[in-house]
């Protein structure tokens, strides 16, 4: 069958996205969750008009296709995604472009221009840490580390109560909360 000539095709936008999650997210689960969220939020008729497709997805970054006039709805659908297979997930839209190449070049290939970390002596590698807050302490194991951000797993009952309240698995802290310690996970 002949393909549609370009003038008769629907015009699209491409959203570059990045994903933050408590665990690894396979492509298939991500697609299912986004389509499920679209169906619950806008219904079958609404989501058929949006033409959502996941074009590429690797290393927690990807490109999503949608119709030009449904961009805000698509953003809303992406914002509704909270958890995939029980793991808390957040989808962030890095930017929008009219072509796949534009989205890739502008938003996915650019490197973080963080200031380079100053040279310093690593004093100690720690796997556990303790945080003093004004209602007590939180101590636990360090699970993930990403630049300055640390996820902390704690199992004492008081901490579990806080975690339940906020519906997450780990405490989110930063290296700045821990004093005089170098962390290397």
């Amino acid at each position: 069958m002949k393909i549609l000539p370009p003038t008769l095709r629907e015009s699209n936008r491409y959203l570059a996205i990045s994903i933050t999650s408590e665990g690894d997210i396979p492509r298939r689960d991500l697609v299912n969750e986004i389509l499920f969220c679209a169906a619950t939020l806008l219904g079958d008729a609404g989501s058929s008009e949006m033409g959502i497709r996941l074009m590429s997805f690797e290393e927690n970054k990807g490109i999503i296709q949608c119709r030009v006039d449904r961009m805000w709805e698509t953003r809303a659908v992406l914002a509704i995604v909270t958890a995939i297979k029980g793991m808390r997930t957040r989808i962030k839209v890095l930017g929008v472009s009219g072509t796949v190449r534009g989205a890739t070049e502008k938003y996915l290939l650019t490197q973080d221009i963080n200031e380079p970390e100053p040279e310093r002596k690593r004093t100690q590698t720690i796997k556990e840490c303790k945080l003093i807050i004004d209602v007590g302490t939180i101590s636990g194991k360090i699970v993930n580390r990403n630049n300055n951000e640390i996820d902390l797993l704690s199992e004492d009952p008081h901490s579990l109560e806080i975690l339940n309240r906020s519906n997450t698995r780990y405490f989110g802290i930063t290296v700045f909360d821990i004093k005089d310690k170098e962390i290397d996970v």
Binding site: A76, E149, R165, N167, G172
Partner: protein
């Protein structure tokens, strides 16, 4: 789109340790990364105790940190007591709404800045409360966590209530703000996503933009301005 690009965005209701699971510095880093120009760290706890900020992060450039309290109360007299106790101690006073009496007590008190999640029990505000909110300059909150956290019938009920709030707010010229009410960094959303969700709650694109930029900014300016004594009274040189 140019106007969106050049705006400053604020999220005026973000919860941190020890009330919820993320430390203040983590929230600040994540919010900065999302593209905000400022967030308000709001204490929310059963004792209505204000916990100051103890920020260990080197403060990021072009980023402002405000302090706030979200007051929870069972009845209006306690609510007023807690409000008068917090005046001048925090940048932003919000009241945890939902219940009809508390909603009313909050919009009738001029010290309150934001009535947070007024539709959390699925009940919309009526015209009396909307008018009172407009008179006292209390902003009505459209909390996106209602859409994020709930599913199914309860989400439908809250969304319906929020739509009515938006309709009345437009009619009576009540300030509208969109906040995340985030309990962890997974609840934070980018400014444009907040706008998209605001548009689902019945706002126009312009109203949604103002709800996270200029309206929030004016609330902060109003409270940070030391020359201001009360509504309409200001020290001029």
């Amino acid at each position: 789109m140019g106007i969106i690009k050049s705006s400053d965005f604020y999220d005026l209701n973000v919860h941190t340790l020890p009330d919820y699971a993320d430390s203040q510095s983590r929230m600040i880093l994540e919010a900065k990364d999302m593209g905000y120009s400022g967030i308000c760290l709001t204490s929310v706890n059963s004792g209505n105790k204000f916990r100051g900020t103890d920020i260990t992060t080197p403060t990021p450039r072009d980023f402002e940190i405000y302090t706030g309290i979200e007051i929870q109360a069972d009845n209006v007299s306690k609510l007023n007591k807690y409000i008068s106790r917090s005046v001048n101690k925090v940048d932003i006073i919000s009241v945890s709404g939902g219940n009809d009496d508390i909603n009313r007590g909050a919009v009738e008190n001029g010290h309150v800045d934001i009535l947070a999640h007024p539709a959390s029990q699925g009940k919309p505000l009526n015209h009396v409360l909307s008018k009172a909110a407009a008179d006292n300059g209390v902003a009505i909150d459209f909390n996106i966590d209602a859409l994020i956290r709930h599913r199914g019938a309860s989400r439908v009920r809250i969304l319906t209530a929020l739509r009515q709030n938006a309709r009345l707010a437009r009619k009576f010229d009540v300030p509208m703000v969109i906040t995340s009410n985030a309990r962890s960094h997974y609840d934070l959303r980018g400014p444009r996503e907040m706008m998209a969700l605001g548009m689902l709650m019945g706002m126009t694109q312009e109203e949604a933009l103002h709800a996270i930029s200029t309206v929030s900014g004016s609330i902060i300016n109003r409270n940070r301005n030391n020359n201001r004594i009360m509504d309409g009274v200001e020290v001029v040189e």
